[in-house]
Symmetry: D4
Subunit: 253 residues, 8 copies
């Protein structure tokens, strides 16, 4: 149910005297989230956006993360993603909540639930060094319910490695291209496939890679059509959007 529909429904209750204007105003203000003091937890988001709220773990204490996860779990959320989660936070959460923790992408999935994975996302990474980010994308998409094929170490300086996976690439509904250094993978894949390509620059490299800026610029300037880009090292963002695209259904007439 969209926000607009909720608003309309609320207005109808006022019309029929089911609640007063003041109560309606109050409800509009208080309902959509739970205030933990340090954070406002949004329990309606799964309804509103189809996906539970995701917790960005980087600058939160283990206790804050546990608090938010607990609040969500108590509201029935499952497969709750915690990105950039420290080992320490994982160990704290795990004591009271079931948690799958992946140390390389630093990703936690609380209250993990078996689910059917559908569609077909290809996550391609240029080098071994890019795996931390590629895995963040792949695991995110899988946690949300998408099927993922991983193609790793397929950088463009060894084109035959890339081309040996033409078949998998051609069958993808979305491609996530993860690369650092010169970031050329996005352009090469963008020229090969006919589906959307989401490019993720990584901070892999040294010198004039400037922490991923070189790859970011490359990807933004891709001469291939159909390529869009997320922030440096934002594997989560690419996996999330890839899932949104992958799960699309045929448009109604």
């Amino acid at each position: 149910m969209s926000e607009k529909q909720q608003l309309l429904s609320l207005l109808r209750q006022v019309e029929h005297g089911a609640c007063t204007p003041e109560q309606a105003l109050l409800q509009m203000k208080l309902q959509p989230f739970q205030d933990l003091g340090y954070a406002k937890v949004d329990h309606h988001r799964a309804v509103r956006q189809g996906v539970s709220e995701v917790i960005y773990g980087k600058s939160k204490t283990p206790e804050q993360i546990l608090g938010i996860v607990t609040a969500m779990a108590e509201n029935g959320c499952t497969n709750i993603l915690v990105t950039q989660m420290s080992q320490e936070a994982a160990e704290l959460v795990r004591k009271t909540i079931p948690l799958d923790y992946h140390p390389i992408p630093r990703l936690g999935i609380a209250v993990p639930m078996e689910q059917k994975r559908t569609g077909n996302i290809v996550v391609a990474a240029a080098g071994t060094s890019d795996l931390y980010c590629a895995e963040e994308a792949a695991l995110t998409a899988e946690a949300l319910g998408s099927r993922v094929v991983r193609l790793y170490d397929v950088g463009v300086s060894g084109l035959h490695r890339t081309l040996s996976h033409l078949e998998e690439l051609m069958q993808a509904r979305v491609v996530v291209a993860v690369a650092g250094m010169e970031g050329a993978l996005a352009s090469v894949l963008g020229g090969l496939v006919d589906c959307p390509v989401l490019a993720v620059p990584t901070s892999v490299g040294y010198g004039a890679s400037f922490g991923g800026v070189s790859a970011l610029l490359s990807m933004l300037n891709s001469c291939a059509s159909g390529v869009s880009v997320v922030n440096i090292d934002n594997g989560f963002g690419a996996g999330y959007q890839a899932h949104l695209i992958n799960q699309m259904e045929t448009a109604k007439e």
Copy 2:
């Protein structure tokens, strides 16, 4: 038919003696495009990627553009997009080829054909100044066959304008968010909708907008999930990818 399948088919012809290895090699090299000297025109691209090759008009002479358009038209292409097309080039092409020309986004559509538009893309622009870029996105998506809803002048410093279009936004399959200056529109829309948002920074602004860099960085750093970004002023790229997403069909089991 994918490239892989073409290769397999070619190898089969060699196996059956339908062509010699030398002929096969030659065909693999020469077939996919027509060399005009100054450009190689790719007639198979519509087959391979579902969309005719798009002509980036900026640094080509009117004569070169005419040459490429003509070669494509003679091969049966329709709705041929020419981006960043000068008035002068449009006038030259128009003499021999049917052309719809839109001066503000500097976009030409050669051999325009009526087609059914499907799905639902919302193109939202923050300000009047961003229209050149928003129209490039909207017209591109329409030329490729997508239905487009335009929401213009909905910048975040007047939230009530944005919110008054909640209904259209909620029904979108993809949203293209076009904004210069601080580029906050992408984050606000990204938080409202549950479909992919493609953000296009524009070069609108002055001083520390640095020709679109401020908006670009804003969009890359969006705290909303599900947002990806294209190059500054790349309305075409956003419209193209929006169409790819919009035309997606339900995944097969």
Copy 3:
């Protein structure tokens, strides 16, 4: 009347059957602005924010500017500010609407009205070259109803010039410090006065001034407390905020 109060009032009308939920929803969506196609004109802004909407003239055609000014004038707005207005736009508007036009800051004030100016804003500029921007700030604040004292050519490399105006500076309620090149004026003034200082970097300079970036960084790093900064060349923004501060009244207990 605040937006919240408008919402509450509308809900009350629904409660009492004065309008249906659907009508309320419609009104919430359509009321606050007038859609000219290329722009949405916000007639409630003067009510909501105490100042009429300001028109950023840079990337609008003279016809668009005329259209917006006319719509506002017909709604009773006066002293309508048009920033970055071209000579050409000024001449067009002037044909049908009274207009004061200042060519150096490229500022137009449509439907100018005599008004009492109160308070005390000092606009200080480091050099003769900074006047275009200082005047934009000063005229903006005056158009909104503030009294302005101008101190020009008081750059810090001639401290005695600055110090000769200590009296005016000490009496200011707000100081706007406009400077290009090294932008040190903001720090020196910030150390002298006990009121808020709004710093405006200008694009005046050459070489490593990088179009105002050097002054901008200087001002952001000011070692004086009580200094805040607006965008490069944004005299309007400083004048606007200076007016908001200047017109403040004693806080209620």
Copy 4:
């Protein structure tokens, strides 16, 4: 008493023979501060600017901080702010001087004194991660005598959270908007309220947030009028200026 008046008074003493020119010159040079060798402590500042000197603790040794605080306390200063104060420095100072120490914003308030807080400053922060900076702003303003309302975790990707606080926002005399990543909060709040908004970019984020540069640029380019900006992570500066604005009184005719 302003500096100019002090000068005039001194000149009068010379005129009447109350002091010789040499004595006057000496007094003009030595009076306003006390030289500790490593620092010159300014005891007149409270008189001159209405606020005691603030100690920037970052690059000072605990002993230097103690020395300066002691010199100020002996001159009768209270509520002495020490920003960026290390735990170690706090422990040293606390041994001899009463001190309130806040570890997250690393802020110390030496010789704290009860005082009446007046006016109304809203400090809004986009995310949990921005609290270190928001608290620096809020505590600074409170130490100076302003009343502060805190609105935390109200980032624009969850607009309903922001909008649920419309009432508090509408009643503010000044708003401090604290945000990292894309920094869009300043624009959204700037469009909602009719009072000055001071924007504080934080260094929260990763990749293309460039340590707060993305948020800084966003805020400088805000399309909302009435927004000015301080340095990245400069919560103190925003709190200080917010207090200056909040304590303003009605201008005399």
Copy 5:
């Protein structure tokens, strides 16, 4: 007579009743410059700093330049430097004031007077393209009274050209090193001579020279001791400081 001495003298006059405190204050404020409205002309600067005020012509109208030059000439100034002076301004000034105008460095010297040139400044330029800036330095130093030796087209990629001038370089009291592109001249000269080297980066170059930034960084990072740097294209600044150094006298015991 230094400012301090002027102040002391004034205080003495007050002591002896030669002027009232109010008159003294007035004199302190008004004396040092003449206010033309658009500029404050500083007639005491020649006394205070040994050099007449220099007029930065870039963003001043020909009329403003004429006004300032006239005011200075009427006060007896000679060899008045106008930097970045347009041809148009030169022609206007020339009608009423004697003027030497050098079009390549765009430098005017109003009321030129024969003077003895002393000392020995070497101005070295890397390439023919750098002459505009080298001449600005050389003519400035000459107008101030220094003797200048010019060494042009001595860039480091042809070391034998540089080395053929070792004798002139060894005899210099100050060296001004002017170079664009990679700016290596400053380091090479800095390693050869035992006098101060003032480095001037020029905006000569293309691509990654970034309008002089590459040369600027090179010069700032010079591995030779005794090198300092001025702004890109600031030949005037280097010539001015070179003159200050060149005219130094033996320190008193």
Copy 6:
């Protein structure tokens, strides 16, 4: 004959009394170039470096270029390269000196001489827009005596175009890879060939291509070994170095 040998020879003449030390010093200083005032022409360079001096025409007047070309021609130089030569300069030179002028790369070759071209340099360009730069490289290498194969419009978003030229690429002794936008061509070619690749970023592109910076960074970060880079748009530099490499002979034991 190397510089060292010239020095030794000169010292021998001194030893044998064939010249005095003073004469030797004079000769060491004056011999290697001819001073035209605005430029020092180096007639020994062809001897010293195997190639005549090249004239960078950008910031020289037509008359200066003519002067330098004439001085070189009179010393017997042929195939004198003038890069970044204006049409106007070409027309002036052509009046008295034979000149081949190529307007697109703005390259002049004065006193052109037939010569045998040897070896094998491939100049590959990603798009039609890059030809101005690719031709500068190709013509430079040809003027110096190298054989050049041109492969244009072989950008990586259409890999089949690149791969269709595998044969020419495999036979190259050096490859010059010219590309703007994301500059991925260098990496792809670097991974395919086993000879040195010289990458030339071009300023082709818009938005975040930043005038060639994106391509430059891509190329510097190439994950392919054996790639080095020249300045943005420096086709001449790549052609020159490619020739140096191409003309290498087998090392002596």
Copy 7:
């Protein structure tokens, strides 16, 4: 044997029935590398590019490095380069595979084999601090089979040091110029020698050296012809390309 020839050979086998099309396709996809899961090891590269694959050790675990080295050693590779190899990785590999490890350049050479070194590469470094990078270049070139002469601490601020090595420089077939700070060494050497110069900027320096950016820009803007540049600190890349150039043979007619 080139890739093209391999392809042709494979096609011939299909033609003659020696393998089916499916088998050929499979072979084309699987043959060139061995998939270790975390990496694809390319055993044909020595054949294809004349040099074994080089392992970039920076972001690989010691175990991954050991795995790749082992796979290569088992395929008969010798002199396997591991760049940016940690002490820890070296110790692990050394347990089972012969390894020469150089701690300052962090370079490992597994399965080292005596080989004849030919040609003549000069590696010149500006300062003692640049040795880590110069040694990476020198050892790389030696491991690949080139003879290397080292000239260290020859920075341009002490020209006589540089010039004392003129003889070695004149005899070089390729020069690698390694320098941080202002990076002028490349230009000075480029002007002295007549062979290709490969410039390597290092991250040595402080302040405005920006981690090597200053040196990088200097080198890209070198006014000497025949200079190309690799990434900051990429001694390996320069050594690799220097070897490719050094081993060149006389071109066939």
Copy 8:
């Protein structure tokens, strides 16, 4: 004795048969420095440039520093400066060589010798945090033989502190202005004094100070004439050049 004179003298010896050309060449190459392998120590520099070679200690091992210092001491050098010297290196050197070590500026002076200090350099620092750099400048100048007056904590946000030292400033022969953050001190001092000002940006600050870049840009853009700038944190460079200027003698006719 200058290099030119040494060369002339050497040529005379060849003329008179006192040495053979080969011996002369050898001497020209080997004489000026002593090669320690990791460094070339220049014993003639004190003769050539008036100051012993200075050792940049940052990237040298304690053993290397000891080696160089020992070689210099054995050649009779005194007051040998070692900049950026670690505590560890100081302790090693101190065991065998007399050493004054200053830990805050990390400066060592080996073989310290009493000397008469002459002239008058003012080193002014904006804040307590800048002392590390100001002391490096002051101690360097003193070690070279200059008299230094220190003015610390005189930042421009407390102008009365600066102005209280007018007398010392007016008597300076050179001023070194050390400041971080907005770096405005250089402009203010440059406007007050009539001697050369050397500006040293420090890396003091946070956020948009970008490690000293803000101060650097401010200083380069100073509107005061007579200001030149050295690298960020390069107190040594400023102290060195200040000494060169301070020790200048009256020019000969």
